[in-house]
């Protein structure tokens, strides 16, 4: 081939095209890597921007910012404890309710329900996750809050009034109402992921249990759920993360009062709601910086929680599918 010299010429003729292809490849690879690195930089940028923005608040108040309970724009004293308390209490109510309903619902959808029933039920529950949070807030404010004020709260007070959590004046918009709205919003998360985890548990386990004479429920309770435990826990953590950061719906029903009260009927405040309500009104630098510090707190907490949830659900799904 080399002796005639012809292929060499052909190669030379093709060289520009080849060079062009090489250049396109190089640009393409750069774009692909560049985008990925840009994405990483954006996430890092979120952290650094918020850290920079909140530096004034942290340098003035130190870490006591997170554990003092005065929130006063007039005196420029800011402590996030009431909001942290409100966020935790409303989210805990939400996750307890949502886990209770969601795990049973997931068990039903994965193992018990006939196909004709499982499909539409799953579909409806997943569609619940698509409802915008402002619509939940609207419904919570005009429908749920009056029901809570007139019916549920008085009933709870009558039956469980010996507990401090169920004493005091009834407002309607309260930590409890916020907890219930948040529960409705995170039920689809708990249900969908738990269902996937339960479905990923190998069938032999169920068959083994059934062949030993266990009833359907015994199989679920003693074999399937324990095997799916880690993944379901991950689903709940993920849902908890969503509840902690939910802004608009919580803002509309939580009452927006920066106070710590033992009563669940009392209005409270949450981290995202303060940011939503007060950010555009914040006049002083330290006020703005304190609000950004709340945002930074939310960012760090939600990254941690989601990282944990991802680890838990991925471990289970991977090991179950690997078998």
């Amino acid at each position: 081939l080399t002796e005639s010299g012809q292929p060499g010429e052909a190669l030379q003729a093709g060289a520009p095209a080849l060079a062009r292809a090489h250049r396109a490849d190089r640009i393409f690879t750069t774009a692909v890597y560049g985008s990925s690195i840009l994405f990483v930089l954006i996430v890092a940028g979120i952290f650094f921007q918020l850290a920079f923005g909140s530096s004034k608040a942290f340098s003035k108040f130190g870490l006591s910012f997170l554990v003092t309970s005065q929130w006063n724009p007039v005196t420029n004293m800011f402590g996030a404890l009431p909001m942290i308390y409100g966020t935790l209490v409303s989210s805990l109510i939400a996750i307890v309710l949502a886990a209770g309903v969601g795990i049973f619902a997931a068990a039903f959808l994965a193992d018990f329900a006939p196909r004709v029933l499982a499909r539409p039920l799953s579909f409806t529950i997943e569609l619940l996750a698509a409802v915008p949070s402002v619509v939940f807030g609207l419904w919570g404010l005009f429908v749920l809050a009056p029901i809570m004020r007139n019916n549920v709260d008085p009933f709870l007070q009558k039956t469980l009034g010996f507990l401090p959590a169920f004493q005091g004046t009834i407002f309607g918009t309260s930590l409890l109402t916020a907890g219930i709205i948040l529960a409705i919003m995170i039920v689809p998360t708990v249900t969908a992921i738990s269902r996937d985890v339960i479905e990923a548990i190998p069938t032999d386990l169920r068959e083994g249990s059934a062949s030993l004479g266990a009833t359907k429920w015994e199989t679920m309770q003693k074999v399937v759920l324990p095997a799916a435990r880690t993944g379901i826990f991950g689903a709940c953590i993920l849902a908890l993360g969503r509840a902690l950061g939910e802004t608009i719906a919580a803002t509309m029903v939580i009452g927006n009062k920066p106070a710590i009260s033992a009563s669940l009927f009392a209005p409270g405040y949450s981290l995202p709601s303060v940011i939503a309500n007060e950010f555009t009104e914040a006049t002083s630098d330290i006020y703005l910086s304190s609000l950004i510090a709340l945002g930074l707190t939310l960012f760090v907490v939600s990254m941690t929680i989601n990282g944990l949830a991802r680890f838990l659900t991925l471990t289970v799904l991977r090991s179950a599918r690997g078998r």
Partner: protein, 297 residues
């Protein structure tokens, strides 16, 4: 003889016990399954209840003027949310234009070169970022685009939306490209195509449908978002088409109307909620339908 009779009696007794025990266990099993069914029904019924309220309270205020007119000041009855619908559309469109190229390229990276530390980092961050509260992303957009420029703008809101869409686009693009059989890509490379040509002309067209689905999922997620708009787009009473200015958004109008003390605005909030929910559900359902037909094939 006595011993045999005793043994027989004992066996019968045991059988009776077992039968009773079994009946009890079956009863508990049915109760448990029934309770699980009840929980699933409660979760599903919640959606129907909320939808019923939104339709019942919103439908009476829906008319042509609601879609065509601007909001009116307090006291003047009527008016519409036309600027909010257009504003939402503008912001979501800009966000999609910003997020799609970066998201799809990240997806290509994860699917085709996706091993090693950088890929694992991108995957981890995409998963974790999707759980970060939208208001935090709004704060970021504020510190980057609103505070330095000293004015609210629709563009800053679109920037926040784009970041919210990115994780969804990245992960669905990765899945979409992975689902294209390796032989297709290898065949293209074996024909002498460059990596770029093989990816852009062969792999991406094959994965296009699923990538568009991911984009739609992202659009559905941000269309109803309100929190990041509070201090980026800020809202507006007027017609505004310039993304450099504050702009109205449908979700923001619902929020403002709902927390106002005026009866007429509450009425409009319900109507707005109905419009928003219909828009979001249409996007969501078409996505699901597209996914299902693709998986069915």
């Amino acid at each position: 003889m006595m011993a045999v009779a005793d043994a027989r009696a004992a066996a019968e007794h045991l059988e009776q016990l077992q039968a009773r025990n079994l009946r009890l266990r079956v009863f508990w099993s049915r109760t448990g399954v029934g309770f699980a069914a009840l929980c699933a029904s409660i979760a599903a019924a919640t959606l129907l209840v909320i939808l019923a309220y939104v339709v019942a309270k919103g439908v009476a205020s829906i008319n042509l003027a609601f879609f065509l007119e601007l909001p009116r000041p307090v006291g003047a009855r009527g008016g519409g949310v036309s600027n909010g619908i257009v504003g939402t559309a503008i912001m979501v469109t800009i966000a999609a234009i910003l997020a799609t190229p970066i998201g799809v390229l990240c997806g290509v990276f994860l699917a085709l070169f996706g091993r090693g530390f950088v890929a694992e980092t991108v995957r981890f961050l995409a998963d974790v970022l999707s759980g970060v509260p939208s208001i935090v992303i709004g704060l970021f957009a504020y510190t980057v685009l609103v505070a330095p420029l000293k004015h609210f703008s629709a563009f800053s809101a679109a920037f926040a939306f784009a970041i919210l869409m990115l994780p969804i686009i990245i992960r669905t693009s990765e899945e979409a490209i992975r689902s294209v059989p390796t032989v297709v890509r290898e065949g293209a490379l074996a024909l002498g195509m460059s990596v770029y040509t093989a990816t852009a002309k062969v792999v991406l067209p094959a994965a296009r449908g699923a990538i568009v689905t991911g984009l739609l999922l992202g659009v559905a997620r941000v269309t109803g978002e309100t929190a990041p708009l509070l201090f980026t787009a800020f809202g507006s009473q007027f017609w505004e088409l310039n993304p450099n200015n504050p702009m109205a958004a449908l979700s923001l109008q619902i929020f403002t109307y709902a927390i106002s003390p005026y009866e007429d605005w509450h009425r409009q909030a319900w109507a707005g909620a109905l419009v928003l929910i219909v828009i979001v559900f249409i996007i969501n359902l078409s996505t699901r339908f597209a996914l299902r037909t693709r998986l069915g094939r």
